[in-house]
């Protein structure tokens, strides 16, 4: 197999990698915010449930979570799901897992906000919703950006775990080629792909952070 073909094959897998990455981010970032509300809720039951959820998501391997989400419907409900459920299961597991991490990041940001901001908004007559979305959230986003960047970079590398459910993303392809051609070259190239992808992610995040730097 020549280098060009290898790049082409890895490139195909790379598209799947990017898909998992994008879909996970799109769904887990807002879901994380909702979960963080539950985590900070005054309702004791809701708070306990979300706390437990977060601790399970952070306390067990993502690989195991992928398997549970994929096989769960069959073992628990006897559901026969089509093969296309595989990809959905991957996204679902990734979203559920990352949302838990994001929830804790949001919480740290929200709890670090000075009480005075809430009080000023309250005296001015803002509703709770207006206070949160106009005053608090924009400042929280700025505060949590570095932590979000960290998680996002980890996500890029975690996408390789999709192989557990036989989703052919880049790392799976690289391993297959490596095995059939008895060379570690494809793995090195895959590593390079991840690195470049993450460089781009870091650069993008840095741009956003710089944009948010218009105030202190």
């Amino acid at each position: 197999m020549n280098i060009a073909v290898m790049f082409l094959e890895l490139g195909k897998g790379f598209i799947t990698t990017v898909e998992i990455f994008m879909l996970t981010l799109i769904f887990s970032l807002p879901l994380g915010l909702i979960i963080s509300f539950g985590r900070m809720s005054k309702n004791c039951i809701l708070r306990t449930i979300t706390k437990f959820y977060i601790s399970v998501m952070r306390g067990t391997p993502l690989m195991l979570q992928l398997i549970v989400v994929y096989f769960g419907p069959f073992y628990v409900f006897g559901l026969q799901l089509s093969r296309s459920y595989r990809f959905i299961a991957v996204i679902l597991a990734f979203v559920l897992n990352y949302a838990a991490y994001f929830a804790e990041i949001y919480r740290s940001g929200i709890e670090s906000m000075p009480k005075g901001q809430y009080e000023a908004a309250k005296v001015l007559g803002y509703t709770k919703g207006q206070t949160f979305f106009k005053i608090i959230l924009p400042q929280v986003i700025k505060r949590v950006m570095p932590s979000i960047t960290n998680e996002t970079i980890t996500l890029v590398k975690d996408t390789s775990l999709a192989f557990v459910l036989s989703i052919v993303e880049m790392f799976t392809t690289a391993k297959q080629i490596a095995a059939s051609e008895t060379t570690i070259m494809p793995l090195m190239v895959a590593g390079l792909f991840y690195y470049i992808f993450n460089l781009a992610v870091a650069l993008g995040m840095e741009l956003i952070e710089r944009k948010l730097n218009y105030y202190r």
Binding site: G116, K122, V123, L124, G125, Q130, K134, P138
Partner: protein, 252 residues
């Protein structure tokens, strides 16, 4: 006309009784200063009036309308949340540490509440804001962010922010305590200006000379109670040794 009336206010934090039965009222155009040692409950009175804290007991009345009243068991009962929103219109509060919104420009800090809360058009909100900024000598700062301003400028912006909602009464919670003497002067000047225009105000302050010059009435608070109340002349020539002592310390 009475803008604000507080009857028999009591407030405890856990077991600590901070306000022990305070009654006061403020007439339209009147400037009331509250002085007294730290921890005497001055700020808590304002915070209860601004409904940042809920009193345990007492009536809170704005322009004859009850925001809260004492029930038969002597506990404060507040109006429903929806009803209470109406009362926010009546007052503004200026904080000791400004609490401006750091992610908004000076102009947006002033226009956002009228637009969001009162649904004032952007054009009108900006016109109002420019009038206020001009008055407070901050026209050239309208595009600046709070972090680019001095403490005195920030406090003036926060006064403008409160005024933009056209409140009937303005509360000042130690407005100059976070400022050095020079910056204190520029903020006090603004408050004096407002007093001249007959803005109704309650000012919690440690600036004795200022309170003396400006107030129609002064309340001296200690241990959660009003110890002395009267015109500046009465307060500054009181025979009450505790008040005398306190004021004397400031007069130097």
């Amino acid at each position: 006309m009475k803008i604000l009336e507080i009857n028999h206010m009591k407030k405890s934090f856990d077991k600590l009784e901070v306000i022990k039965d305070i009654s006061l009222s403020v007439n339209e155009g009147e400037v009331l200063s509250i002085i007294g040692p730290s921890g005497s409950g001055k700020s808590t009175v304002l915070r209860c009036a601004a409904m940042l804290e809920k009193m345990n007991s007492g009536d809170l009345i704005y322009l004859g309308e009850y925001a809260a009243h004492n029930n038969t068991e002597g506990k404060s009962v507040y109006m429903a949340k929806k009803e209470l929103r109406r009362f926010h219109k009546y007052y503004g509060l200026v904080f000791q540490n400004f609490n401006l919104f750091p992610h908004y420009t000076v102009l947006k800090n002033i226009t956002d509440a009228p637009m969001t809360v009162d649904k004032v058009s952007k054009k009108e909100a900006e016109e109002r804001a420019m009038v206020l900024l001009k008055k407070l000598g901050l026209e050239d700062k309208k595009e600046a962010y709070p972090y680019q301003l001095s403490g005195g400028q920030q406090q003036r912006v926060s006064i403008a922010r409160a005024l933009a909602l056209q409140p009937k009464i303005l509360f000042f919670d130690e407005p100059t305590s976070a400022l050095d003497p020079e910056l204190t002067g520029e903020v006090l000047k603004v408050i004096k200006e407002l007093a001249k225009e007959k803005m109704t105000m309650i000012i919690v302050t440690h600036e004795m000379q200022f309170a003396k010059e400006l107030s129609d009435r002064i309340i001296f608070m200690e241990n959660g109670k009003i110890q002395e109340e009267g015109t500046p002349e009465q307060i500054f020539s009181t025979e009450n040794t505790r008040v005398k002592d306190f004021i004397g310390k400031f007069a130097g």
